[in-house]
Amino acid sequence: MGQQGPLLSIDHISKEFYGNVVLNDVSFELKAGEILGLVGENGAGKTTLMHILFGMPVIADTGGFKGRICIDGQEVSFSSPFDALDAGIGMVHQEFSLIPGFTTTENIVLNRESMKPSILNDVFGDRMSILDRQDMKKRAEAAIEKLGVKLDPDMLVSEMPVGHKQFTEIAREITRSKTRILVLDEPTAVLAESEAEVLLKALRKLASLGIAIIFISHRLHEVTEVADRVVVLRDGIAIKDTPVAGVSVRDIASWMVGRSVATERVSEGEAREFGPEILSVEHLWVDMPGETVRDVSFSVRKGEILGFGGLAGQGKLGIPNGIMGLFQAGGVVRLHGKDVPLNEPRTALEIGMAFVSEDRRGVGLLLDESLKWNIAFTAMQIQGKYLKTILGGLFRIRDEAEMRKLTEEYIAMLDVKCTSPSQKAKELSGGNQQKICLAKAFAVKPDLLFVSEPTRGIDVGAKKLVLDTIHRYNRDYGTTIVMVSSELEELRSICDRIAIVDEGKIAGILPPTAELPEFGLLMSGLGANGSQEDLSA
């Protein structure tokens, strides 16, 4: 505590990927026990900066970086994440890195288990020591205690809700006795507001124990709530480094984007007419871990935008995943009055439905392929688009020019930050990958589009672009859209009706103009009889 100098200093760091400058002379300092909010638009360079700090191999593989990193005033250089761990830096990545078949305890102390020496140690080394399970549990409990959350140390990770997985991962980072700096890259993106709240509290607790924290988030109110200082990156330049006191969300947003931003309802007061019923769902159940759907019935009319909201873990995400066949499901689903076979993802696509998954890394993109290939892929596979026939119909080859044109169109529309349509998907920032996922679904021009958490991980400025694009598709092509989101505001800004899912069932359906408390009631499971009758439009 009584330490004078900064714990960590980032000193004039620059990084370019093959000539594309993504960090330009970034410097800032971090003191022990301080929480630093790191914000910036998609592609501003936040993740890249953290990769440099953590010694990730991608950095060295792409030509290294310029500048210095100092810990306690000493310059350090890490050749692998393990060096960074040794130096006391813990990092929680966006994707979980936990073993599902292991318990909380086993995951928290993974590869740092407590051991009692055994007779074979002298001959075969440490790995023949016996595990001290009691002590492992004690350490895990201590870490959980330190976080100030409730976790069962003996629960299998595969049976946990997402939020608990996130906490388990953080607990693992802080059990390292050396950890003094904790980096969290969008830790709240997978969490519901209430869970995020608990996480923020845990972070404050850790900070009070002297751990320095770098916290990255696109939910700016979280940053103003938890951080002591905020650093704003814009196009790789740290344009602002200021204490949070007295700074508003709006200020940060305008620093990030360089102009002022506001979200308002896009389609205010417009009278809407819908076609006949396009999708009807009866007694749907879906076995999606952590997002179980128990019994859901609803119907959607052509041209409508139906929103699904609700707290995390209540099942809203399971609905599109089940209908699209990605998780085991049962019940009756009819598209245009015809039965949709469940559990067959390809059929679901072929009959005119498309899906933008909330899991942008898992099923979303072919990371090693180019952007244009990613965007055109589904349309090509399923509908034979972007293929041209040659030699009198003997062969069909990809129509590169057409694909390129299409991709350029979407890059402009969604403001994707990339070098060219041929860039590989894995080279994009998280948020920009998400935009590509959307473009991919749009390119199919489906009758019915499911979008799940479309703005997760997307910065404040681009959020509006994404919502506008969804809205525009709906208006221009008459595409029916079912949108699932944990952000109520975003549902209210474009949806025609909003269904709130609670405990795997629909608690009620409200118009977007309904008062906020009404939504709150439904979400808390106290909704006034959201009976099945008023569910069909």
Partner: protein, 378 residues
């Protein structure tokens, strides 16, 4: 209330075991063999085969499936025995010599390295690798022994002067472990020393699972990439699992052969992995999960069947060949059947866990709903 459900669950969980039990029980009377005879046979065969089957456990823990590469260990054990005979080291010392020769460590290492290059396809790869190494074994034993490597005892050489005879008489080590401490229990004889060796191995396996290395193997078995990012040396751990398995297989083969008393030099190892795998599967193990009881149950069931079917065939169809044929058929059948059943069971399990999803129908509330209040009351 969910009695039928859990019964169904029990049945699929142990389907292979149950089917085997039924066939065996049905075949015993028609074989006309006395229970005493069968029990004595089982004691002998447990001693003879259990060690080999136990050798399969560690690779399963490490997520590498059934180690068909254990044949490499069997061949190492045989080379050890050939040399023990050659140097005329008899008795338990001869077995110890064969066991400590160390070829199995090298073989295990080769197998481990190869399997690391074929992650996710370990079983097929191990099977093919065994074929390949078999070729080398034949080359060494058939041509190089007595030609390149000097062989002292001309009695074990083919008459042409090089290459080992087709059948090797293991007289000097014959049943030396079994007879080391033979106990008479009424009408039964029990090879205590052999069972002690097996018991020591079981204790080792139980103990091993509690070690750091054992935990690392589990972690690697569950998720290689996560284990890797946590700093567990994945490749090394997998190689160690295979080396231990191969070495144990070589010991197993030595125990097996000392009991038999002679050795078919060129094909004693042919079906080692095959019968070991069949036994562990019959015992209710799967590609992903196996325990010591699986091994013991499997060895007993498979061998009771082997003992009674030739007789039952003779008595029922007037031909022992039918029983012999049946034995082969069962071996392959079991492997295929268990693998299919395993896949089916995995699906079925998912279906069962799903049945609890509809909150309304059953009383059980899945964990996911634990946080909520009482919103579901309708």
């Amino acid at each position: 209330m969910s009695g039928t459900k859990s019964l169904g669950r029990f049945l699929t969980e142990y389907a292979v075991v149950i089917i085997f039990l039924l066939i065996t029980v049905a075949a015993i009377p028609s074989s006309g063999l006395s229970i005493q005879y069968i029990v004595q046979e089982m004691i002998t065969r447990l001693g003879r085969n259990t060690f080999l089957v136990l050798a399969l456990l560690l690779p399963i823990y490490a997520g590498m499936g059934l180690n068909f590469g254990m044949t490499l260990g069997a061949m190492s054990g045989q080379i050890g025995l050939i040399l023990a005979i050659n140097f005329n080291i008899g008795g338990v010392e001869g077995l110890a010599f064969a066991a400590l020769l160390g070829t199995a460590v090298f073989m295990g290492w080769i197998c481990g390295v190869v399997l690391n290059k074929a992650k996710g396809r370990e079983m097929v790869t191990g099977y093919m690798l065994a074929f390949f190494i078999n070729g080398i074994y034949q080359l060494i034993v058939l041509y190089m022994m007595g030609f390149v490597f000097p062989i002292r005892s001309s009695a074990i050489l083919l008459s042409r002067g090089y290459g080992i005879r087709n059948t090797l008489n293991l007289e000097i080590v014959r049943q030396s472990l079994d007879n080391f401490l033979m106990l008479r229990l009424g009408e039964y004889t029990v090879p205590v020393a052999t069972f002690l060796v097996i018991a020591v191995l079981c204790v080792f396996v139980v103990w091993f699972k509690k070690t750091k290395l054992g935990q690392d193997m589990r972690a690697v078995g569950h998720d290689m990439s996560v284990a890797d990012s946590a700093g567990v040396p994945v490749d090394r751990t997998r190689i160690i699992a295979i080396i231990i398995s191969t070495v144990l297989a070589s010991y197993g083969q030595i125990i097996f052969l000392q009991n038999m008393g002679n050795m078919a030099t060129y094909n004693a190892h042919d079906q080692t992995s095959f019968f070991a795998v069949a036994a562990i599967l019959v015992g209710g193990a799967s590609v992903k999960k196996a325990t010591i009881p699986n091994v013991l149950i499997g060895v007993i069931l498979l061998h009771v069947l082997f003992v009674v079917t030739p007789r039952a065939g003779q008595n029922l169809f007037g031909s022992a060949m039918i029983g012999e044929y049946f034995r082969q058929f069962i071996g392959y059948g079991v492997i295929a059947f268990s693998l299919v059943l395993y896949a089916w069971r995995a699906r079925k399990d998912a279906a069962w866990s799903r049945e609890g999803l509809r909150g309304s129908s059953s009383g059980a509330v899945p964990a996911a709903a634990a946080a909520g209040g009482e919103g579901s009351a309708k």
